[in-house]
């Protein structure tokens, strides 16, 4: 296939819009066969139905294919990125590229989740850049909404139909794309929200975060995890020189919401290190301490985490699961 020309060092990210089982196989079978023939590790993270189709079509060579039911290969975007990186770490062979078929689940997602998955698809171009991975993201046009199919062409530089590659004319710079994705408007803190700050003292913010989570009915380990998530989010914002943070906390059905608003110290300037890089906190902590480790943990422990720059302010909104979240009861 032509993508071989890019060499093993670069991340290659293709979208495949398919409308039938035959179209899926026309892409997936040669992609997997060529990879296995070249001694490359190959993963198919897709629907169970597609995995079955692929195994039948591959015959004996299906024994060498790694598979994952895609809904469980990273339930949320931050977990998805971690799953890709960990899979690569475990399976990569020296001097060889790793191939991945990575079909996200789009059906049944909320507007907020859909926006976050679109941002992540774009973010993969940044987050995995430099990794010797060739990833193809299939989109089943029989089930994905139109806006998702359109987004596929803005978040992947190249589309793949069968074995034919064509550049995506609407491919957008990831940072610009992520900033422009339409999601639900940021929620405003209700008048009843608890508030503290602005302060540079993380422990003040942490205490209120714990108090509100306890007030919402969280106990034990779940209360401790809510406190830790809020603390790590606050510590990330406070790491910038001269930063101060105001915390507002309230309840929504299903979630405790923390809004952390970072402002500069009175009369002072906030450091340039305050700029939040696009796609911050999606990579899991590595061997050496990283500036975004705590943000990754907050993203991972929360249900959602959004970062928005509003003029000189940065607003981080973290939702942690409330006491009625039956997945964690």
């Amino acid at each position: 296939m032509a993508a071989d020309r890019t060499g093993p060092a670069a991340f290659v990210h293709h979208a495949c819009l398919y409308g039938s089982d035959a179209e899926f196989l026309a892409m997936a079978v040669p992609f997997v066969r060529d990879g296995l023939a070249a001694g490359e590790p190959v993963l198919a993270a897709t629907t169970p139905a597609n995995i079955e189709l692929l195994r039948e079509a591959l015959g004996e060579s299906a024994h060498h294919l790694d598979t994952a039911e895609t809904a469980y290969f990273g339930r949320r975007p931050v977990e998805r990125v971690s799953a890709f990186l960990r899979h690569h770490e475990r399976r990569a062979r020296p001097g060889r590229r790793t191939r991945m078929i990575a079909e996200p689940v789009w059906a049944g997602r909320s507007a907020r989740q859909t926006a976050e998955w679109k941002r992540m698809e774009s973010g993969l171009n940044v987050l995995l850049a430099g990794l010797p991975v060739w990833m193809v993201c299939p989109y089943d046009t029989r089930v994905v909404p139109n806006d998702v199919a359109e987004a596929a062409l803005a978040t992947h530089p190249v589309r793949l139909d069968g074995e034919r590659q064509a550049p995506c004319a609407s491919y957008a710079d990831p940072a610009a794309y992520a900033a422009a994705v339409d999601g639900p408007a940021a929620s405003c803190a209700p008048p009843s929200a608890a508030c503290t700050g602005p302060t540079g003292d993380a422990s003040v913010l942490r205490r209120l975060a714990r108090e509100r989570a306890a007030g919402a009915g969280l106990t034990g380990g779940r209360l401790a995890l809510a406190e830790l998530a809020a603390h790590e989010a606050a510590a990330y914002l406070l790491a910038a020189e001269g930063a101060r943070v105001t915390l507002r906390a309230w309840e929504e059905p299903g979630a405790v919401v923390y809004e952390l608003r970072r402002t500069e110290r009175e009369g002072g300037r906030i450091g340039r290190d305050a700029d939040v890089p696009p796609f911050a906190g999606y990579r899991p902590p590595g061997d050496a301490q990283g500036a975004e480790d705590g943000l990754w943990l907050a993203r991972t422990l929360g249900d959602s985490l959004e970062l928005r720059a509003r003029g000189p302010e940065t607003v981080l909104t973290l939702r942690v699961p409330g006491p009625g979240d039956a997945e964690r009861l």
């Binding site: 830790l228 603390h231 899991p284």
Partner: protein
Amino acid sequence: MDPLVRTAELTVVATVSPPGLRIEGVVDADSHRHLREALQSVASVRGDLRLEMSRVEFLDLAGLRLLMTFARARAARHCTVELAGVPPHLLQVITLIGWDATPGLRLGAAHGC
């Protein structure tokens, strides 16, 4: 025995049998330095160590990393450190990050939270 660390938020006491430390209270950015120094004070002890953590009220991610770095240093000396009484939610975080596979680390029985 006098504590190695005694601040309003954190107390660390050296233990003899088994050798190690008992950590009580809060570990956050204000106390990383104290925890690092306390760990340093037992770094030259030969054999396996135990850190008793059942009275830890809060431990942030950077504090947890100090413990993992310490465990790796133990492994380099062909011995281990056991974290005993780790609150279950911190065990969950350790596993989530993949730090449960840190060389030199042993995770003892957890206490209820």
